[in-house]
């Protein structure tokens, strides 16, 4: 059992600096993963400041998914030029598969696909790594049916190093308790010191020096240091987004397609290019927040139940390979409305990878109806 303890003797900034300093003492190779968001901006700046003070070099790793905000790329360019003498650039622009939740016919985007350079979202960066850093023989793929995907790139990239510390700007404070538990459940032993804000990753380890930072801590640091940040936050602020909606992420996967709804307003050029690049973008832009479509909250009028809607979606699924995956998965599930609604969501979002797992349990509605039938 975990016991949460609070150290009130220092602030989160000092604590993060101490953690980073500890990592510099313990590891020769340090690589910071950046996404262009606010958290990784802060982490990169803190780590680079320490590297600058020590006259050391750190790696900045950015896996370019091609279909990202233009502002994200600007932010990455800014970070890569922040302390040029202290940075090893690992800006990967290689071919890999990404789930496209917006189309049932073009279910994957092959980022930076060879031969399609005319419709790429933008040209490759001159300073980027454009070929795999590992040999074809050594390359591992988690699921051959899905192809060489996002997490495969990360795994293979990490395997190019031994005894390296990968720094990730993941935060647990103010986020879900599950994330906090996942972060701290397997402490990593660093030269005899158990480190709770870390996880072991093969011959390397991932560390989360900002794990106890909150939203306001991050913004206070960015404001205090006058750092550049993604313009998308300003657009979202002007639009009145609430705290938990303000995210800068990919544009097309199961959890982030909603950002397409505002894309034409925020970055019209990016939206135009994306429409040419991929199928389903315009439709997702119009219906991304509709309760009847991608959210699968409301049943379309011509169906009487989620079960019939699910059966229809499954029967008419255009991709036979993915259809089989769904059929096999759904056989293991209970057959009720509660589960069927979630299955519909998976089918609509083409979530064959099961990134939005189904909560497979008896329908709470049915229990409540039975109760009312007895007592009223």
């Amino acid at each position: 059992m975990f016991i949460q303890r609070y150290d009130n003797t220092k602030n989160v900034l000092d604590a993060a600096r101490e953690r980073i300093s500890f990592l510099f003492d313990a590891f020769e190779t340090i690589i910071v993963s950046v996404s262009g968001g606010k958290d990784s901006t802060v982490l990169a700046h803190l780590t680079l400041s320490e590297a600058h003070a020590r006259g050391r070099k750190v790696g900045l790793f950015f896996l370019d998914e091609e279909v990202v905000y233009e502002s994200t790329i600007r932010q990455i360019e800014y970070l890569m030029d922040l302390f040029p003498d202290c940075i090893s650039r690992y800006w990967l622009q290689i071919e890999f598969a990404l789930t496209n939740a917006t189309s049932a016919t073009e279910t994957q985007l092959i980022c930076w696909e060879a031969g399609k350079h005319k419709i790429w979202m933008r040209s490759k960066n001159a300073c980027s790594i454009q070929h795999r850093m590992w040999s074809e023989k050594e390359q591992t793929v988690r699921d051959k049916n899905k192809g060489f995907g996002f997490y495969d790139v990360i795994e293979n990239f990490e395997r190019c190093f031994t005894g390296a510390a990968f720094l990730v700007g993941l935060r647990a404070a103010g986020e879900s308790p599950n994330r906090w538990r996942a972060m701290v459940k397997n402490p990593v032993d660093v030269n005899g010191t158990p480190v709770f804000w870390a996880t072991k990753k093969g011959k390397n380890a991932a560390f989360y020096p900002l794990y106890d930072w909150n939203f306001s801590d991050v913004w206070k640091y960015i404001g205090g240091k006058g750092l550049q940040y993604s313009k998308i936050y300003d657009y979202q602020f002007k639009k009145g987004f609430s705290l938990n909606e303000m995210r800068v992420s990919s544009l097309i996967h199961e959890r982030s397609f909603k950002s397409l709804c505002e894309l034409p307003e925020f970055e019209p050029k990016t939206y135009n290019r994306l429409c040419k690049r991929l199928k389903g973008i315009q439709f997702a832009q119009e219906t991304g927040k509709s309760a009847k479509m991608f959210k699968a909250r409301k049943l379309p009028k011509n169906f009487k139940s989620w079960v019939t809607y699910r059966d229809f979606l499954l029967r008419t699924h255009p991709d036979t390979k993915h259809k089989t995956i769904f059929e096999k998965r759904f056989l293991r599930h209970l057959d009720n409305e509660f589960v069927a609604r979630q299955q519909c969501r998976q089918l609509i979002l083409n979530d064959y990878e099961n990134n939005l797992p189904v909560d497979n349990k008896p329908d709470p509605r049915e229990e409540l109806i039975r109760y009312y039938e007895e007592v009223l």
Partner: protein, 291 residues
């Protein structure tokens, strides 16, 4: 300090006194619009705008050690980790000048009160549900104990049989509708039975004015100037009833109960809610005395 059970004029006087005695130059009152109170130097922040960036970050910048933050009737959700509550806790962490006003300490159950304790103790206990943490909070409590005087109304056999038919029909056709529509709709049927027994010389409170009566108000209104009211029917969510209690200032009610199962169910549900309310007051007395 948490103040329970105060009326608007008492809150107003307390804020004015606090501002005067401590020389407060700037104060914010976080409140749902219908409970807002005008006080000198106090800026009203509407409850629903608290989570907006334009409000949240402005207040974070403006609240300092000399700012008074008044949390007025902000117990609106049972989720202690609700984003609005998180934002409020951030504001409170920046100043020691705070006043927390709440008419009733709960929405449905005991744990609701702990959200107020979180505010007062600056989240020292990180959502613990142990009741003893109440002793860490400073509480001034004017107990509000609603009393329901049951007024039984007889129903005919035909009304009972039409009720049973309607119940069977509702359950059969529930489809994908919210199951809570079953008691809500059945309660509307019992309204017809009660209608014949209402008096023209008194005011009633109910779900909606579907009978177009002149002496009838609903739970969605902002003012209740005609107290005392008799309860024609109660609302399904207690938070609406709590709002009505506060805005009307009434605590003793005649409660119409028709001889149908649904009326009995709602009446018993209200009695249980009052018991829960008493349990919270008793715990507050117990732990406050101990500290």
């Amino acid at each position: 300090m948490i103040y329970l059970g105060l009326a608007n004029n008492e809150k107003q006087a307390m804020v004015a006194e606090y501002v005067r005695e401590r020389g407060i130059k700037k104060a914010f009152m976080l409140t749902p619009a219908k409970f807002a109170i005008e006080c000198p130097v106090v800026e009203i922040i509407e409850y629903s705008s608290i989570i907006m960036y334009k409000t949240f970050y402005r207040l974070l910048q403006e609240i300092d050690g000399s700012t008074l933050v008044v949390i007025n009737e902000c117990l609106r959700t049972q989720n202690r980790n609700d984003l609005t509550y998180n934002c409020i806790r951030h504001f409170l962490a920046q100043t020691s000048h705070q006043l927390i006003f709440q008419y009733l300490p709960i929405i449905d159950g005991f744990n609701d009160f702990l959200s107020l304790v979180d505010f007062d103790t600056h989240s020292r206990w990180k959502r613990e549900t142990n009741q003893t943490i109440i002793e860490e909070a400073s509480i001034v409590c004017a107990e509000v104990a609603p009393i329901f005087n049951r007024v039984d109304i007889g129903v005919s056999d035909s009304e009972i049989s039409s009720y049973e038919n309607e119940k069977a029909k509702l359950i059969k056709n529930i489809g994908l509708k919210d199951p809570h529509t079953i008691p809500r709709n059945l309660y509307l049927i019992s309204g017809k039975a009660k209608l014949q027994h209402i008096r023209s010389d008194r005011w009633y409170i109910g779900r909606n004015n579907r009978f177009k009566l002149s002496s009838f108000q609903t739970f969605r209104e902002n003012k209740y100037p005609n107290a005392p009211y008799a309860v024609f029917e109660v609302c399904h969510n207690f938070i609406d009833f709590s709002d009505f209690l506060f805005l009307s200032g009434q605590s003793i009610f005649d409660f119409l109960v028709a001889g149908l199962k649904i009326d009995e169910w709602y009446f018993q549900r209200c009695l249980k809610w009052i018991e829960e309310l008493k349990r919270v007051y008793s715990a507050i007395r117990q732990y406050q005395k101990r500290s």
